[in-house]
Symmetry: D2
């Protein structure tokens, strides 16, 4: 299994998610960083690249330089894919250009700023025929895959209700005023887009519901609030959901709920049972069948579906967590790049487009006096 080499756009010093991607890509010894346009200035890009051991020739001052530079190399010596981990406003152009030039792309969510960009990207990727993965990383967890399997297999019956929560507390104060880099761009409409909490974390919640249940949104009713004085984007989102076919739901995404760190949870209620999964205790899935004792399913056991087993590296009781789940997205995408079969899936450009639409429709609903905004 040959290593694939990638270039990274963004992810320099002080970035959080860039380091996560680098570990995730490397975890299974399948991919290696080979080039980078890591920071917003040429000088910082060089420094960041040097710190990561990149050859100076491949520490590019900008992503456009990287595109040119890599295309100028012999085909066998180019990066196979790029990883884009910039703030949201800087996703679209490099994603589009690299895909159009035939590179595979791994892109952070939310994919782009609006549905026009999303549609363009979908077309571009289809035309190019390349692999395009959007890192909705939470669907990489083994027990999320098993939950999806159980719903599909009818093990909880037809789904009636979904409650998805993504609760954090780190923006309960006016942190962006302190200059904290993560807070600054995520609360800035010019870099983050239309959505604050709804974009940053609500979009994960939407994807998790879609991934596990397969339900399609029909209409939403949203209340968005910016609780912290001076904040320009929502830091709290409460939504009622209606799905095609009659299921109902609640989505709560908040970054001012003190005491929650990264508390994404999903509850799915069917006609014959329910499921509960929490990201902060990812190695257990609670299945509650009608009229019987609750069951705790644990990662790594033979009673799980093949996809969940394929997504696991360690035996039961040796906990796996965030990085391994993130790496599973990479494993799926890398298999696709190599045109190898894999039990591991990954979110695609269509998932990304749906997520962008979700943010748009939520913001529209929040501004509307009508109860239901069609999705």
């Amino acid at each position: 299994m040959a290593h694939l080499t990638y270039g990274m756009i963004g992810g320099g010093k002080d970035a959080f998610i860039g380091a996560v991607h680098r570990i995730a890509a490397a975890l299974d010894h399948q991919a290696a960083l080979g080039a980078g346009a890591l920071s917003s200035t040429p000088q910082r890009s060089r420094e960041s690249g040097a710190a990561l051991g990149l050859h100076p020739d491949r520490c590019y001052p900008s992503w456009r330089d990287m595109l040119q530079g890599e295309l100028a190399r012999p085909a066998h010596d180019r990066v196979a894919f790029v990883v884009i981990v910039t703030p949201n406003h800087a996703h679209f152009e490099p994603a589009r250009e690299f895909a159009a030039a035939g590179f595979h792309v791994v892109l952070d969510k939310p994919m782009v700023l609006d549905s026009a960009q999303a549609s363009d990207l979908v077309r571009t990727v289809h035309a190019a025929g390349t692999v395009f993965a959007v890192t909705y990383n939470y669907s990489g967890y083994p027990l999320v895959k098993h939950a999806r399997h159980m719903v599909r297999a009818g093990e909880i019956g037809r789904v009636r209700k979904v409650i998805v929560e993504y609760h954090q507390g780190w923006l309960a104060t006016h942190l962006e005023a302190s200059g904290q880099k993560q807070a600054a761009w995520r609360t800035d409409p010019s870099r983050s887009g239309l959505g604050g909490a709804i974009g940053d974390i609500g979009s994960h919640a939407e994807q998790l519901v879609s991934y596990v249940t397969g339900l399609e949104l029909e209409a939403i009713c949203a209340d968005l609030t910016a609780f912290v004085p001076g904040r320009k984007l929502d830091d709290d989102a409460s939504l009622l959901l209606r799905f095609r076919g009659g299921a109902r739901g609640i989505l709560s995404a908040s970054q001012i709920q003190i005491g929650h760190e990264n508390d994404l949870s999903l509850r799915v209620y069917g006609e014959t049972g329910s499921l509960l999964w929490r990201q902060e205790e990812p190695n257990v899935l609670v299945h509650r069948p009608l009229g019987q004792p609750d069951r705790l399913l644990r990662r790594g056991n033979p009673y799980l579906c093949p996809e969940a087993q394929a997504a696991t590296r360690l035996p039961p009781g040796h906990p796996e967590a965030f990085l391994e789940a993130f790496a599973n997205i990479y494993r799926g995408a890398l298999a696709a790049m190599r045109r190898e079969p894999s039990l591991l899936d990954f979110p695609t450009v269509e998932d990304g487009a749906r997520g962008v639409r979700f943010i748009e429709r939520t913001v529209a609903s929040a501004a509307s006096n009508a109860k239901w905004t069609p999705f």
Copy 2:
């Protein structure tokens, strides 16, 4: 401390809540059952009364007979109060008549069927000057009282967001078709009133929020669903809440969420901390202060407020539960009847009236296309 004697209306064979009231009333050796109109037929009332050891003279065939019969006894030998535990449609008349006749009343929730009845009852009780308690029993828990204390004392700062859930699964199937008595009346509009889940348990959720936070509802946005085919009332309620002063909330009440038994939980998020309490683990209150480790406060400890300590009978680690909390409502009401001071409060006729209005406004919102229905 003299025993007070009470008469019970409803609560005969097969009733659930009547037995709960009798235990709760007796738990602290302060009140004893002395009379009853326990069932809907004279014959069954006699049988139920005999089974409970009532003197045949005070096994009344109907509540009207009990009212007459007790009034015919010398004042010192009458029941001091009545406990009304009939289905909802049979609350108003006996409550009104006993209160008007000078008896104290303990009444199950929801208090009455509509706001007209509620207003009448409020006026009647005020005119009579009697004690009137509505058994929103969950506010009887010691740690609910401490949560209220903490919010009032500013220990989590100004409240921003509330999430209250009351989840059950026992009506996930068409249980009423089986003749199960509890299911039958609770899903029957003629006995239960406008609300199904929203009335039966949503009203508890509303009261818990009000009790702990003191927040006043400004507007609601409700989605009510009857998931089980053939069901005449909602079995699932999802609400967005807006409170005066800017706080926001989510209320979820459902009786089709398989795996939940009686899962009432409250989460309150303030500017400097949050609180979490769950009825099924009532001996712990989670306090999560900003920037510090979570704290688990446990019932019975000296660090709790006087009200929480007054509501406790056992040392820490010797768990107390549903019946003790229920009995705390009685202790408060009985102290009021005796005109003795007490640290234990109890829900009043005004709380009951607000609860009835909550059900009405929720049903109105569910029928409306407007996003927000004023409260």
Copy 3:
């Protein structure tokens, strides 16, 4: 179902367990306090009796006076049984004399101070043919009864290993020096007997193992420690256990483990599954079958055994706790006194005698250099 009347010995002001017994006896409306020798001085006995609403004629200055006084009353107007809740050193004489005189007895654990007393009591009770219950209250919990059922039914296979812990922290400081009444007598050999923690709580742990598993101790290896300077009895006990038939065990009982309140837990490991129960979360029993997901069994559900259902008053999710379990011991004993059939058992004088022997043998083991002290 007629009320039975009882007399209480001990349990006056400041006592903890007397009030628990009175609530437990009354909870199911089956027994009422009718007489008392409640305190160690006649004056305090009168005051305590008056506070509890006893008739002055039956507020006896001592248990001997109560014995004479009640025997002097017509047979139909005597107390049916006595409840003895004095410190341990004052158990034997009243228990023996009341039983010999034909009264039923409910007695706190540990039953008496040594095996000579225990044997005497066993003989006395057998001769008298009366009911004699020892309030090892933890076996009154519904899910403890279900655990016992599962073990007997072979649902976890032959038992290999048991871990029982009873952890408290309230004696982590020299509390007895403060005059705190509970601490004072429990750490005083002249009132408590040979054992400190091992007698006060270790004896509960021993009984719980015996009740659930039916295993018989073969040999023990004990390490007893008094960690708090100046303490005269052990406040920490660690034991290795060997049972007849090859099972092994660990028993840990401590009153200096800060952070534990009343943390009694039992884990039983068989050849095909295991069970876990914790007193502080008594409404759930964890069953872990070999090779399958864990199962959480919850009180009140139809899938539980008849004994567990008989021991339950409330539906699932309406938590029951310490007092209800305690009351179940009374229900069983009261049924026996009435010679009525009951699914509810209660610990007998033989259980009490085995418990006394357990304390003796543990203290002997702690003083021995031999690894194993036969039981």
Copy 4:
């Protein structure tokens, strides 16, 4: 920060722990596999090496060949260290020879088969002046490091009692008879050494206690059992512990406790508080101070000690787990190899020697009729 290259001994196909080491070594982009003697036969070694992308020249048929081969390369092009992940009986010789030849060594636990080997190895390593790390990986967890910090800082006072448990259930059946490779060697005295469960997992428990508390064992009292018929080594170990200075403890290590997967937990009780940590929920540390609410400390927060923060890669709520903790051992050892300062420590050859002695003394105690076997 230059990559270090290592050679691996053992860890070929079907091995569990070899893959763990390779991920752990690579996780922080600091070390790369460069050579291997991966399997017990030359043919399998070549295949395993090829699968891992090793150059054929450095797929050695045996560790002796690897030692010769690497020494034959120019100094700058040799592996910097070796990782030994063979069964226990094959630890001593390669560890000794590579250390003596000046290579750093990372070795799985238990270090060697007996104290004679251990002493030899200690002397060899001291003479060579090389880095020697024993992968007691659980001390790599951030919150284990914080627990150690709290004990050292006196935050729970002088330690009185320790309870350490390492519970698994995977050997509850005669799995070794099925040919399962992990079970086969771990239950075989000729490959595993004197200890079964006590060696495989009890040794981790001993190290965890030592690491966190700094307590030194004075005497032990052990009961070892082989519950599964036909098993040649203990699969269950129960120990009473006495430490210098008066602290007491209980150690339970079992591989037949069905329902436990890899359930290592540590509870430490001091004079003013206690600590609880569980490997299966590694992102929380429970601190229970005397007389105050419990506190839940979570990984990644600024209130943790510098060592705990240095051992963390992700923000709070983004769970880290087994692999990250394992990688922290590598980070510490790699820093030592580079002679760079680091906040991350790692278990040394002395820790390994103490662990070997612990197994020996436990086995001796189990065979003795004396209660206490000096350590």
